[in-house]
Amino acid sequence: MNSKVTNRIALSLIVLCAGIMAAILLALLGYILVNGVTSISWRFLTSESSTFLAGGGIKDQLWNSFYVLFLTMLLTVPIGVCGGIYLAEYAKPGKLTSFIRSCVEVLASLPSIVVGMFGMLLFVNYFQFRYSVLSGALALTVFNLPVIVRVTEDGFRALSRHQKEGGLALGMTHWHTIKKILLPAAFPSILTGVILSAGRVFGESAALLFTAGLSTPNLDFANWNPASPNSPLNMFRSAETLSVHIWAVNTNGIIPDVQTVANGSAAVLVICVLLFNLLARGVGKWIHQKLSGKA
């Protein structure tokens, strides 16, 4: 076979691979949206799930997902950003720094179920938080920290040196240079990364199985007192999130309309994740335009 023919064949195979990849995405999204959107209705989104009757909704699960996400972000962002700043600004090359780097790497590549088991040992059993929103959020914090650390470090490293030198030349301390000059400048890229990681946290399920639990008490959405046991804001109640719900109805579910509920929930989940993706792109672009004075 002459080399030109081989070239043709090989290159078409490569294009085929890319085509398969794109086709997988289309098929996945198409399947989920076509099958799921029909079962999404206002009633589906706003009614409670049922344990054995048909016609259950996902109100509580949807709320739990957002609540756990919110708490996780509240914990992760400050700690992760500080950790990233350390690695980008303060860390001197040495054993300690490379150890911290390895730890971030380890945290990022541990299976999420291992993080879930750790959460069960420490937060659920040892700290006696039981299966709760708080345990779930803490486990997801461990899961999400390395992502935020990396995003922050990359954001800081991408800044031009002049910004830092400018601050230091004014006699500002290093810390104030970071706080007043570098952090605001790195803000857009950090925000984009944070929103993207939010999508990841929103869809996470294995880490929540043993920490947030598989059930939700009857929530009273008129009761916003965080201390009362049936309040949606209570942090110490168990909380099944949307992605855990998809798994649970398929595995132990005895409701007759498993497929409808699972498809509908999956469609809601995927739409939320897509929105996070779009938001991340949009926000990044918008802030960039604002800062560069084009808008």
């Binding site: 294009v15 997988i24 600004e89 790497e105 380890v106 179920i113 999508g199 399920s205 995927v270």
Partner: protein
Amino acid sequence: MMKASRGLTEEALSKQTDPSLLKESGLFKQLTNRYSESRGKFLIFSCALLMIVAVIAITLFLMVQGLRSFVVDHINPWTFITGMQWYPDSATHPSFGALPFIFGSMAVTLLAAVIATPIAVGTAIFMAELSQKWGQRLMQPVIEILVGIPSVVYGLIGLLVVVPFMRIHFGGSGFNLITGALVVGIMILPTVASIAADSIRAVPNSLREASYAIGGTKWQTIWRVVIPAAGANLITAIVLGMSRAFGEALAVQMVIGNARNLPHSLFDPAATLTTIITLSMGNSTTGSVLNDALWSLGLVLLLISYLFILLVRFLSRKRVL
């Protein structure tokens, strides 16, 4: 915030004659205060230390809990790892042999890599070598969206599409090893593709130009020059994908069939370390032998994950370029 620094400059310039004013306004003091510097440094440093604490805590907690079954319940570690029988609920002879699960995990991981590698590397070559424009405009977003899709959704699709497909064309229940590997293989595609694309882009252009200069075709350049040059990094991409496949729990559990025996063929139901933990952890009481054995499985999972991490470090240290 940029305003703050600009304001400071203007203020400093206008009040050069009277430095006491600047001191009184407090801004000067605030921005050059050594105490706040050390406070900030302390805050930042403690957050960084938290990473170390987290890793050590995870390792220690799982280690202590995972060793209970050997220390407290006197299960022989060797029979635990090599035993073929997992009958924890048998009243007379409960047996805890984890080999079928370890084997299942390995099989799913390897098969997933075999399924994912050609397509992922092909896509990476397309993005980095063939068409930068389409790679940037089309494939980059495709990969980003695929990475974002939650694993449960992959599991659900596997359950609703792949399982019936297998049942119709290959017989059986459709819940089997190859279905699990296929679902996970598709799940790790975008991860492998995006890291592989980065490693191909990192190959210096001079190598390609040298190949074209001696009359190589595009494919010869890719096959003989670019891929060997990207070598170790390409393998890193695949290993990272494998470590993700190894740790995946719910998506595999939904489609693999959860049999406790060693599968005899690709079309037999199987189980992995993650699936058995997912399934049994909720039904076992804390402190029971079954519960301890599950934590030992968790420990095995953790140790193999560490092996993957070490392998990735080893590979990325051996940078050819």
